[in-house]
């Protein structure tokens, strides 16, 4: 917490020292992995039950699902956007694939994919072409898609999860849950595209300075739209993995993923001004948040403290990254 009061004092002097800027930058980048270690050590001392094998694999699966969503969220944050419709896409996608009364058909998978693509496209078009503030466009989409989902299910739960999805959700290869493998694949793909391809450089360029990127000939709008589309599709993937793990879908599936994915991405070193952030940091953020949320349960605290933990992580992370973005851009 001292990180939030310290900068405020230092800011009042005209120019912060270079060491201070460096310190805030490093804090922003390394907060998640360091906090992970601290929390894990704390758990050794106070909550030894955390280290039971069953619990560890639960945490791994939850971190994987969150990590997949957060990777998509990071892409959108990189272009200075925000996607609040991820939990609706996650839920609707899962519902469409799973609650088919005649059992699973590949057609429903295609339909879910089409919906995810459509939602991402609509978000991207609203933001990039109509210049609607990202949170309002995606929040409207959240309400709308949530309504569609209610209209489709009438609030009923469904437990008709196809076998292959159960394998993805709870199966293991060696010690590694399949969900974690899925996450690693997503991470490798995203990391590879961001680091090695022209599109990856475009994403960072658009986020760092939209106008400069446009003058340099980057198809800025298309890049932004692509980020929203990928984010939606990743949310769908996460929804399938999650429902495979839980074994049924109900109205509450995925409700926390908006806050959590943003919190994980930001604590993992992504600034909301765009242009800064990488998949590995976000992975650390997702792991940190999953551990914290799990500790609330394992330590025997009431479940609503999870909400408070999410909020505190979000606000602290935002404060650090806001400071960092401000200092680095001056």
């Amino acid at each position: 917490m001292s990180a939030t009061s310290l900068p405020a004092r230092a800011l009042r002097s005209a120019a912060p020292s270079r060491r201070f800027v460096r310190a805030v930058d490093l804090t922003g980048q390394w907060a998640a992995p360091v906090a992970c270690l601290v929390v894990l050590m704390f758990a050794v001392a106070f909550v030894p039950r955390f280290y039971e094998l069953g619990n560890l694999s639960t945490v791994a699966i939850q971190a994987s699902v969150l990590g997949i969503v957060a990777t998509g969220q990071m892409l959108v944050l990189l272009v200075a956007g925000l996607d609040l419709s991820v939990n609706a896409v996650l839920g609707l996608g899962a519902v469409i694939v799973i609650s088919n009364q005649q059992g699973f058909s590949p057609l429903s998978l295609l339909l879910a994919l089409a919906i995810a693509l459509g939602v991402g496209l609509a978000n991207g078009l609203l933001v990039a072409w109509r210049q609607v503030p990202a949170f309002i466009a995606t929040f409207g989409m959240l309400i709308f898609v949530g309504g569609v989902r209610l209209a489709y299910t009438h609030g009923q739960a469904s437990g008709n999860v196809p076998e292959w999805l159960r394998v993805v959700g709870i199966g293991q290869i060696g010690p590694l849950p399949n969900a974690a493998l899925t996450w690693i694949v997503v991470l490798l793909l995203t990391g590879g595209v961001l680091a090695l391809t022209r599109y990856g450089r475009y994403v960072y360029a658009v986020g760092a300075n939209y106008d400069a990127a446009r003058y340099a000939g980057v198809p800025t709008r298309e890049v932004v739209v692509a980020c929203y589309v990928v984010c939606s599709v990743l949310a769908l993937v996460a929804g399938l993995v999650l429902s495979g793990y839980i074994g049924y879908v109900d109205q509450r599936l995925g409700t926390d993923f908006n806050v959590n994915s943003i919190a994980a991405a930001i604590i993992g070193g992504t600034t909301f001004r765009g242009g800064r952030g990488n998949p590995l940091g976000v992975a650390a953020g997702a792991i940190l948040l999953s551990i914290l949320l799990n500790l609330v349960v394992v330590a025997g605290l009431a479940i609503y403290w999870q909400l408070a933990v999410q909020g505190v992580v979000l606000v602290v992370a935002t404060a650090i990254q806001g400071m960092r973005g401000h200092l680095l851009s001056r």
């Binding site: 609607v132 309002i136 309504g147 403290w305 999410q310 909020g311």
Partner: protein, 334 residues
Amino acid sequence: MASSVARSDASVALSERRAARRIGAWSQRMDGSILFIYALVVLVSAGAGVYSERFRDPGNLTNVLRQTIVLGMLAIGQSLVILAGGIDMSNALIARMSTLIVAVLFGGDESLILPLLALGMAIGAALGLLNGLIITRVYASPFIVTFGMFGILNGVCLAIASSPVGKIPAAYLALYDARVGPVPMCVPAMASVWVAAWLLTSRTRFGRALYAVGGSPRVARLAAVHVPRTLVWAYVLSGLCGAAGGLFILARSGVGDPKMAEGLEFQSIVAVALGGISLSGGRGTIVGTLGGVLLLGVVANMFNILQVDAFLQQLILGLVVLITVATYRSARTG
């Protein structure tokens, strides 16, 4: 001689330009969106009145006005924050938090009404202050800070009470039903709040500072507007409005409910957007927000009378938002 003529010419030109700018500013604020929203309110009400006997019942009409009070309070606060270029996602939770604490402390004691009302408002102001300070001191995104505050307060509220609590004295509940003739007292009271909000935004230095900060913080700073202070005040006022809205819910429901005011943060943003206030700040008026609030109130009342399914209501609300924002004029193209 020549120079003084030139000077007076220049001053005439200057005052003309000022007058032109004033008219320009007025017409810009009274743009089509406000006419549109009021036309829509009239149309929807007229349609509802023709269609449904229950809607045009005078008792129902005052009820509609009374039902818009809570949303109206939150939307006023939200307007101030959005005009200044911010956003408050936590106003509904501020309402819930301050009201819940008041409800728990009441214990059916009538003598506590005034001190507890003051306490509730103070809690609202303090939470707004916290939002404002975090946002202005560490340059954090207002959306994410207030969204995080939403989560924190949600958890804390559930920690205070997981089911409806509190024993509210009858004298407090009577506030909701107090009447002057056929009109519930709270309706004219709320009308005066709207007038006060309008005066605050259009006739005071603080109001002009709000528009300046929302239009461009850089230019506002160069024009000697204290940007952080203006923003902090906007969030404090939003917190106060939230608490006032929550305390009114308490008078209506008579119980501190850890689920109350759900979704109102979004509805308040929708009302503001419908009323034509630019979501990137600096343009629009509180008069438009009133139109947005009335429209949402009339539509909600219609939904109730027609017994429209909850999911359909949600679908329609989402569609309205998407259409509004898709036709929304941005600062860049505007």
